[in-house]
């Protein structure tokens, strides 16, 4: 049991007035976002049309952004929206338009066994990780870590400055590399 879990379902009714309702509302929003994430994820990995999969992925990412917000890190939440939804998903959708124009062709599983096999693999992995998560006792700090942009900035430019620079190099190489690969075979 998590010590930070102080408000109970009874607390919702007996709680101190408005704040109780507010907590409940936050809980409802969280559930909605959880559902969004999961539904988006299911669409992303099962949809027959790739564009729908990307849309599902975007939906899932929006949910994940909300979850980051609940994890007291609005900055990362916004970055999640900006990078994952605004850039990654759009790029993937873009590529689908360029590379798979005949969208009508439905994409099924690759073989008769792959469906069940995938399900079993995924199920096992999920079960294992869930079990691990539930059964491990984490040393939870009493104080919530509040995300602070300033702190992130300071850390990025001090402790992690080397990684930061490396990431920018990786990104640069990625840009150049993808340009080179994608332009290959096209004279214009």
């Amino acid at each position: 049991m998590n010590p930070s879990d102080t408000t109970t379902i009874i607390g919702f009714f007996t709680g101190d007035g408005f704040a109780g309702y507010a907590d409940a509302a936050a809980g409802v929003v969280f559930l909605i976002m959880l559902a969004t994430t999961l539904v988006g994820g299911i669409i992303a990995c099962t949809a027959e049309r790739l564009v729908r999969a990307v849309a599902g992925l975007a939906l899932s990412f929006i949910g994940v952004a909300a979850i980051y917000y609940f994890l007291n890190s609005p900055f990362v939440a916004m970055m999640q929206l900006l990078i994952y939804v605004g850039a990654v998903c759009v790029t993937i959708a873009f590529a689908i338009m360029l590379a798979a124009p005949e969208d009508t062709k439905k994409i099924g599983p690759s073989g008769p066994l792959s469906g069940p096999l995938g399900l079993v693999t995924a199920g096992l992995v999920t079960m294992g990780m869930t079990g691990l998560a539930v059964n491990t006792t984490f040393s939870v700090l009493p104080k919530e870590n509040m995300g602070s942009v300033k702190l992130i900035g300071i850390e990025l430019l001090t402790t992690y400055s080397m990684v930061f620079e490396l990431v920018s190099i990786v990104l640069l190489i990625a840009i150049i590399g993808s340009l080179v690969i994608a332009r290959h075979g096209r004279s214009k």
Binding site: T7, S73, T130, E144
Partner: protein
Amino acid sequence: MSILNLHNNLNTYLILAAILFGMGVYGLVTRRTLVGMLISSELILVASSINFMAFNRFTAPDPTVGQIFTLFIMAIAAAEAAIGLSITIAVYRNYKSVDTEDLVDLKG
């Protein structure tokens, strides 16, 4: 523990991450197209990010390390998406298909 208070529980996030990870694995196994696999791998990446974020909030003594890791993961994911998609397009140009089973030039 109330259902409305799930967001204050570390396990919620870990289980969510596990499920997303499972979905990613499932997609990776069953998808036949490169883009589909890429989408699934993004799910896996985001699942790991959630874990980082969750631990960052609930357990880590340093309030920023998880977030910074997540940011790095995002950057890498963006780079991966760009490279992966350009490869996809290049493959499409050569094979007129992004179906992994059609890309069998080396298979005797």
